[in-house]
Symmetry: C2
Subunit: 338 residues, 2 copies
């Protein structure tokens, strides 16, 4: 296992790999001489420079792009917090395997390899309103699965999840680590009605009370109040950081999954961008907390890495412009005020 | 010529082709049974239904996608309204032909055919501060070029432009037809300094005074205060409407180009979506005026159909999900509250 204890993760986060400032500088200088007014490609320019920074080359590549979707089940589903029954989690894994889900189509469109990673679907986390969702060993095991999922050769990684009831888990982590009570973070997820929404809030308030002794410890919260797929996402983000692989985060659940890491080390997301902002209630506030400006805002709330997968397309365009455009000199175009 | 007079355009706008409500309804019903919570793909769902509506089939296609970039020169450049010299317009046409511009890379990424249409670059419009930019015949000729640019077989058209000084022309049309004075609509374009900005405002105020007699006639404004590439975009949007081809509009200039048509007939943009909102000052206000919600907001301000071209990628993903996803029944996934 990559991490034998929570302390190993803490130590890892104290000594993070850094981007290549030289490559970023070279990419930024290149953007200044391409045949366009400086800055006129907006965030496409920033994205190309960010890819250059983490890939360590002035001309980045996107030859090997992976989408990782982690899947797990949640004991809190017993509290009536989802509009769908828990067996849908396994059914959707079969749908992913059969190529029938949204992320299958998006991965194909984006030219990305899709890795779906179900984690002990027949062993949901415990109901976090009455005990720890996972013990330390179970948590580290899930982190490790995520860590090992990141391919050796990977120019860009998009991370997402699927798991019936996991917007409750995500809201749980936010309420535990950022405060503001359940209402600030709870949304309708896959589409619960008002009663379902009230049950989500009640479950979170109950869990906050039960676990009040650990709320000051981000990793204890990630284990005791989290989920296996969220832990795996954290593991994948750590592995990507170690290899300097740029990462696109998906929606509310995938973003909440890295919150415990951010509480340990605020610079942990330097190699990450928010693929989109979800319509799920808490996501916009969470991104603001992380000072992440989402690339897309299309009212999506599906998960499955669908928003992050879509953002891969924007990175492909940013890269095509950065690598393929002519400079003013090459094209014989007069520069400004010329 | 498609239109022998301004009255022909007025008549055309009174009797517009309509979308296929049956196909749109079938597509909307399909979205309800795909393996995702209803509505969870957000605007991707709406976009698929919109494509179905205008293409007239439940399962739309994007086999033939075209990007049209219209290019022209502007007499108002003599007023010092651009950071770049006017010869850049022709130089950029050569850059498009050589494949070195941003839109070349974006078109390739989006799988679109790029059509660059320079319009009489050696005959700039007249300086609109002291006379009509175009007479009626010149205007109709430019509209006709745009009309004829739309390919017979075209599943989707993105329209954009290039022309040194044309953000001044675009702001001109907005100020003339929507009011609020020059300041409401003028921005830095390719990056003018404060003095350049003041010169843009002055040119527009001067033209508003000179042309005050025609401000109530949208097409007279389009001719007298517009530009050839803007007229061509209007022509292309009319041709696309006739053929029920869905259209993605690009930034401030391309959107301002259709403003005269909107003043004739508010439903003229039903077959159009805004590819993005530009960082150019007036674009957001203009889109709000049109009640168009842009698909992207990435701080771009290049023109060349770059934002609309990027949005093609989102449509490809929307279509892939709509056409490729399994239904709940096909995938054996339990539906909600199951």
């Amino acid at each position: 296992m990559q991490f034998a204890s929570l302390d190993d993760i803490r130590a890892f986060c104290r000594d993070l790999a850094r981007g290549d400032a030289g490559a970023a500088g070279a990419a930024a200088r290149r953007q200044q001489v391409l045949t366009k007014p400086p800055g006129s490609l907006g965030r496409l320019e920033e994205l190309a420079i960010w890819l250059a920074c983490w890939q360590g080359r002035e001309l980045p590549r996107l030859d090997h792009v992976a989408i990782a979707v982690f899947v797990a089940n949640h004991g809190v589903v017993a509290r009536g917090v989802s509009a769908y029954p828990p067996e849908v989690t396994a059914q959707m894994v079969a749908n992913f395997a059969g190529g029938g889900a949204a992320i299958n189509q998006i991965a194909k469109t984006a030219g990305a390899e899709l890795r779906v990673v179900p984690i002990e679907l027949d062993r949901p986390t415990h109901d976090l309103t009455v005990r720890s969702a996972m013990d330390e060993e179970e948590f580290l095991h899930a982190v490790d699965i995520g860590y090992r999922t990141v391919p050796e050769r990977c120019d860009l990684l998009a991370v997402g999840e699927m798991g019936i009831a996991n917007t409750t888990t995500a809201a749980m982590l936010c309420a535990a680590l950022l405060g503001g009570g359940a209402s600030r973070w709870v949304g309708r997820g896959t589409g619960v009605d008002d009663e379902g929404l009230a049950r989500k809030r009640a479950a979170i308030e109950a869990a906050l009370g039960f676990h009040r002794g650990i709320l000051g410890d981000p990793l204890a919260v990630a284990a005791g109040l989290g989920g296996r797929e969220l832990a795996a996402i954290a593991g994948a983000v750590l592995a990507a950081r170690q290899r300097r692989t740029p990462v696109l985060l998906d929606g509310f659940v995938a973003t909440a999954a890295v919150l415990p890491l951010v509480r340990l080390q605020s610079s942990i997301l330097d190699h990450c961008r928010a693929g989109h902002v979800s319509a799920e209630a808490g996501h916009r506030a969470l991104l603001r907390e992380f000072r992440l400006d989402p690339l897309l805002d299309l009212g999506m709330r599906l998960g499955e890495a669908s928003g992050a997968g879509l953002a891969i397309l924007l990175l492909r365009a940013a890269l095509a412009c950065h690598n393929g455009m002519a400079t003013f000199t090459e094209a014989g175009v007069s520069d400004r005020d010329g």
